[in-house]
């Protein structure tokens, strides 16, 4: 039967296949580029078992490049999904974990945890989570019950961000090993300090993806307004709570492993909304795969562009994302 309804299943398959291929290509690029000169063909050789894992090339591949690409992919997916969820919950297309100051709160929490000498998990991750929930609560409180809710939300986020940035530098300045490198890591995001031992913590964000994916339809209904969603059988309070907790948790983990990487949650959902519409059943997988590929490629630029060494990946994402934010703000006000 030919009808006018978009086929969710077909879009889903198409998105998964296409973006899966894009992610695979990005990952191969990411795995083959680096200062050590382990080339694309050598990478393939390691992957296809023709080079042993204990060779130099094998060690570089398994211990350095693969964890790094896994980190970029997972953080990218997390941040893109985080943006998508906050945009749906707040019904504001400009909301994003970094812009709202939630990433900043998580970073402050993580630094406090590290300074206190806690274990990365659950100690540091938990305090980072509390930090993100605290800033989230404050930003929501600031924006609640105003006619200009959308703008005061962004304004509250910007101030929260500035405050958290100052706190980050303050805390690092107080600590004994205060290095510029560390400040840069937290403020601009940096994927280079990650080690393969942190992989289990990194992958602990995956269940959060599943939770969000399950709530795709309620998220669609929430976009049309809380009362609309409630009238359509959505338990608005429960869904909102679960989504906020799952998102804050995964963003906190991403932040404690990679610092403040901004605007991924703005750029990726926006591109896919333009291409695919607003159905979260398609948007969520698209943002996961697309966000992963995007941050791998941004990280590639961060590694390849500087003449010597590399730069924090947050510089790349901000140089792409901030102008887009300004453009969207300008368009929304017209």
């Amino acid at each position: 039967m030919a009808h006018r309804f978009p086929s969710v299943l077909r879009n889903l398959l198409l998105v998964t296949l296409l973006l899966g291929a894009v992610l695979l290509a990005a990952a191969l690029f990411g795995l083959s580029a680096g200062s050590s000169g382990v080339s694309f063909s050598r990478t393939l050789a390691v992957l296809t078992d023709r080079l042993p894992a204990d060779s130099v090339a094998g060690a570089i591949f398994w211990r350095i490049r693969l964890p790094r690409v896994a980190l970029a992919a997972t953080v990218g997916a997390t941040l893109a999904l985080g943006g998508l969820v906050f945009q749906a919950l707040l019904r504001n297309p400009l909301a994003e974990p970094y812009i709202l100051g939630i990433s900043g709160g998580a970073a402050v929490g993580a630094i406090i945890g590290l300074t206190a000498g806690l274990a990365p998990f659950p100690g540091v991750a938990l305090i980072a989570f509390l930090g993100s929930m605290a800033t989230l609560g404050l930003v929501l409180f600031l924006a609640a019950g105003r006619a200009s809710g959308k703008d005061s939300l962004l304004l509250g986020g910007v101030m929260m961000n500035a405050f958290c940035g100052a706190l980050i530098m303050f805390l690092i300045a107080l600590s004994r090993n205060s290095q510029t490198r560390q400040i840069l890591f937290w403020l601009m995001g940096d994927l280079s300090l990650f080690t393969y031992k942190q992989l289990p913590l990194l992958f602990s964000v995956l269940p959060c993806f599943g939770v969000v994916l399950l709530l795709a339809r309620p998220m669609n209904l929430l976009l049309t307004g809380k009362e609309n969603a409630a009238a359509m059988g959505v338990n608005v309070g429960a869904v909102t709570f679960i989504l906020l907790v799952a998102t804050s948790l995964m963003v906190s983990i991403a932040v404690s492993l990679s610092g403040l990487v901004g605007f991924v949650g703005l750029v990726i959902p926006h591109i896919f909304r333009l291409l695919l519409g607003s159905d979260h059943r398609v948007l969520i997988p698209a943002c996961l795969l697309g966000g992963a590929a995007y941050l791998i490629l941004c990280d590639l630029l961060a590694r390849l562009l500087p003449a010597g060494g590399e730069m924090p990946v947050g510089i790349v994402t901000a140089m792409i994302g901030a102008p887009l934010f300004i453009f969207l703000l300008w368009r929304a006000r017209r």
Binding site: M1, F5, L221, T224, A230, A231, M232, G233, V234, G277
Partner: protein, 264 residues
Amino acid sequence: MTAGVDVRSLQIAYGRTPVLRDISFSVPIGEYFVIIGPNGTGKTSLLKAVAGLLAPAAGQIALFGRLAAAYGRREFSQTVAVVPQQTSSDFPFTVAETVLMGRSPHLPLWGLERERDYAAAEEAMRFTNVYHLAARRLDQLSGGERQRVIIARAICQQPRLLLLDEPTAALDPAHQVHILDLMERLRREKGVTILMVSHDLNLAAMYGDRLLLLKEGEVESIGPPHQVLTADRLAASYGCPILVDEGPLGGVPRTIPIPEKFLD
């Protein structure tokens, strides 16, 4: 006989401030029931209470012979659909997607729509004459088209009770009549019970089987239009002289608020 809506001694309060006091009324299945009254008398609160969006401070609401509180969340939204005053969104859903959302209460959490869901959505869109707009985005439509889409979504929900909050407030006279004719057809062809809040006394009189006049959170009068819409009652409720005469259409009362310059 079971009623579509049965409200008993309902009280609603925002914090400590009571909005509705001791409201009782009953709407038979298949009736077109209109709630009227001045601004701020709690019309919308009453509608939201029946929609389950506002918890009563006291009293009971029963729908089709069962307490509203006894319904499961999904079951409730399979029974009751709400058309709000206005719908706006920054997110670009298409008309077809919006109407299909009406199937949500009938589908599992992550179920994909099936052929019969598409069929229900198509029928609803044809009913409100928006099928030709199916691929358009909601934010590209006029106010009247958008309201027809939202009504199609409510119809797609296949409710037994339809709650309308001033569905025609932002529309021109032709669109007002068109939308309310649709409601009348829905009631006639599908036996849907309709509960509507309206500011327009003339439309209320023409479409409503019975009216409920609210005044300061209490029921001032319930009954057929010619009983409720009397000059004395309206003047007392609205605090403004209102002329009532027999209208040219089927003897339905016609009301005209009287401007100061015509008073003497």
